[in-house]
């Protein structure tokens, strides 16, 4: 059974149909790239999946749960991790605290108020993975842009989610970092389902996975990158020819 199912999902803002009858299924452990021009409904789709925006119609099911009744925190607790386009980390916390706050644990007020032990081994492991061990006690604000991207990915991994939603991870990264990110995402697939929204075709190519092209709030084409880029409609709307 699919991990995430969107069926005929719609949402409009003041008459503008940001998402219009979108149908999409993501399998457990799948790596999927989603492409599409601006305004195709990529961000709204992620907002709907994570409970930030309620759809006007259609069904959204994640791991058997109806996601139309769940808020952001609820979606995170069910196992959806989301990375924003602009890296958002807690700048006044240390790198280590950023990870610590993201680890799977009881999220309740009183649980955190009296929480004692921390899983330091797991923190060390994650810091090693995102290569920030030597910045452990620095404030996140002092990191470079690329390092913040990595830290945010580390925070997502600390959540140990079933599904990772990643918005334009390659933005602002060097070529070397981009390649490393693509490799990391490929590694992660299998243990986690990973959905990447991306503009950068080189990056999508590097991901080497199934691609979905969105246009005007619905799925235009789906398949391998070669298949999708051969699709005449895709060429027309996306490449603007």
């Amino acid at each position: 059974m699919s991990l995430l199912i969107l069926d005929g999902v719609s949402r409009s803002f003041d008459g503008f149909k940001a998402v219009n009858g979108m149908t999409l299924a993501i399998e457990p452990g799948e790596l999927r790239a989603i492409i599409g021009p601006n305004g195709a409904g990529k961000t709204t789709m992620m907002d709907i999946v994570t409970g930030k925006t309620r759809p006007d119609g259609g069904t959204v099911r994640f791991d058997g749960h109806d996601m139309t009744r769940i808020d952001e925190a609820g979606s995170a607790r069910l196992g959806i991790g989301r990375k924003f386009q602009k890296p958002t980390v807690f700048e006044t916390h240390t790198v280590e605290d950023n990870i610590l706050l993201s680890l799977r644990d009881d999220r309740g007020v009183f649980a955190t108020l009296f929480s004692g032990a921390d899983d330091t081994a797991r923190v060390a492991e994650l810091l090693a993975l995102i290569r920030l061990e030597d910045r452990r006690l620095d404030l996140a604000a002092d990191l470079s842009h690329g390092q913040k991207q990595w830290l945010e990915i580390g925070m997502l991994l600390a959540q140990d989610p079933k599904l990772l939603l990643i918005d334009e991870p390659a933005a602002g990264m060097t070529d070397e970092e981009t390649a490393r990110t693509a490799a990391l995402l490929r590694d992660l697939a299998g243990d986690h389902a990973v959905v990447v929204v991306e503009h950068d075709m080189e990056f999508v190519r590097a991901l080497d996975c199934r691609v979905t092209c969105l246009h005007q709030g619905r799925v235009l084409a789906e398949g391998s990158l070669a298949q999708v880029s051969a699709n005449e409609q895709v060429v027309e709307v996306y490449l603007g020819r």
């Binding site: 994570t50 808020d71 952001e72 925190a73 979606s75 995170a76 607790r77 991790g81 989301r82 924003f84 958002t88 980390v89 807690f90 700048e91 006044t92 916390h93 240390t94 280590e96 605290d97 610590l100 706050l101 993201s102 999220r107 309740g108 007020v109 009183f110 955190t112 108020l113 009296f114 929480s115 004692g116 032990a117 921390d118 330091t120 081994a121 923190v123 060390a124 061990e133 030597d134 452990r136 006690l137 620095d138 404030l139 604000a141 002092d142 925070m155 959540q159």
Partner: protein
């Protein structure tokens, strides 16, 4: 950005059992508590030896109540980023709860010598005590209410506001509307809280005469103790994991939500705790100044609390207390010497601090220390972690 982020000295490499845990008492907190203890002992001593006039004891006691109030607001604003422009309301409610008990204590000694009703009710021709005055003849009930009523109001208000994600300026404005509405309501005689005049002419508390210097000293020491306890509670919250979540909410609310934290719950917790501490400050304030009236609810009062915190340095707790004392003391001095000048000075403080000292007095201090570290060729982050 915030420099309140002091951590235990922890080795830069290697993993100990618990990482990056701050202690309840860092250097600054220890100094603060020592100064507080010195004041709690020194002021009564100086008073006993005649070096400090009697009125000064109550005056400094009043400043201590303000300091507690400022610490409460700092927990909310400095750490959680919620700017309440209505914290005076919680303070006043605590003050009224205690004032109601003190009114009941007057008993037959009032002007109308009515054993069952406070003077103002006799004056208004009321026949019996309204239900919301029941129980206030017991001290412990009143003391409980001084915490419970502000807490309950904060809970109800916060529950709705945070659930519907009213944030930032909008939240500030409706907290201001809240205290304004309460002020108008308390000004009405029909409300049963003494209307315009408020509650006053108190005689004694728990059998101790409020006019006697011994009682005043007792209240003063109690206030110092309350500041210490309030500080330690806030500090404990701030250094806990919940405290880190609260700071996270201030810096990146959306990210915190997507990590699975129910932001509403945390905000509500901080809001209620802060309101209860404010209520405690109010309960200690009333017997020391001898009156509580609806003016305490005025929006201007609440904004003044904010400037205490801003001047001292928000997100530092200690700074908030320092700011409260600085501003309140300058008010006492200036309104005595040049009454015309006070609002100019206060106004200028608002403008100056927000533009030139956004991190307050303690921020400037930290900046100077950091500068000295740099001059010695060391990384200021190092100092911050060792603080």
């Amino acid at each position: 950005m915030e420099k309140g982020n002091d951590a235990v000295p922890a080795p830069r490499s290697g993993h100990t059992a618990t990482l990056n845990r701050k202690t309840l008492l860092n250097t600054r907190g220890t100094i603060f508590l020592c100064v507080l203890a010195a004041v709690a002992v020194g002021v009564p001593y100086l008073n006993a030896t005649g070096m400090l006039p009697d009125y000064a004891v109550s005056l400094i006691g009043k400043y201590l109540c303000f300091a507690l109030l400022a610490i409460a607001l700092d927990l909310l604003w400095g750490y959680c980023g919620i700017l309440s422009l209505g914290h005076g309301a919680f303070f006043a409610l605590g003050g009224y709860a205690m004032g109601m008990h003190l009114m009941r204590e007057i008993g037959e000694r009032g002007v109308y010598a009515n054993p069952d009703l406070p003077d103002f009710m006799v004056f208004l021709n009321w026949q019996e005590l309204p239900w919301f005055w029941w129980g206030f003849d017991t001290f412990w009930f009143a003391a409980l209410m001084a915490l419970f009523v502000p807490g309950l109001l904060a809970f109800i208000f916060g529950y709705f506001a945070f659930r519907s994600r009213v944030t930032g300026v909008y939240l500030s404005i409706i907290t201001q509307a809240m205290t304004y509405a309460l002020m108008l309501a308390f000004f009405r005689n029909e409300m049963g809280f003494g209307g315009n005049n408020g509650l006053t002419d108190f005689k004694d508390v728990l059998g101790y005469d409020l006019q006697s210097q011994d009682t005043r000293i007792g209240l003063f020491v109690l206030s110092a103790l309350a500041v210490a306890v309030g500080f330690l509670i806030c500090r404990a919250v701030v250094i806990s994991k919940a405290g880190k979540v609260i700071i996270s909410i201030r810096d990146a609310e959306s990210r915190t939500r997507f990590l699975g934290y129910r932001v509403e719950g945390y905000k509500l917790f901080v809001f209620v705790l802060s309101a209860m501490l404010a209520g405690l400050a109010g309960a200690l304030y009333t017997p020391q100044v001898g009156i509580i009236n609806p003016g305490e609810f005025s929006p201007a009062n609440s904004i003044e609390i904010v400037i205490w915190v801003a001047i001292g340095g928000r997100g530092t707790l200690v700074g908030a207390a320092i700011g409260a004392v600085i501003v309140a003391a300058s008010k006492t001095i200036l309104t005595g010497l040049y009454p015309e000048a006070w609002l100019f000075v206060l106004g200028a403080m608002f403008v100056f601090v927000t533009i030139f000292m956004p991190r307050g007095v303690l921020g400037v201090w930290d900046g100077m220390i950091d500068g000295m570290w740099r001059m010695r060729g060391m990384d200021p982050n190092e100092r911050r972690l060792r603080a």
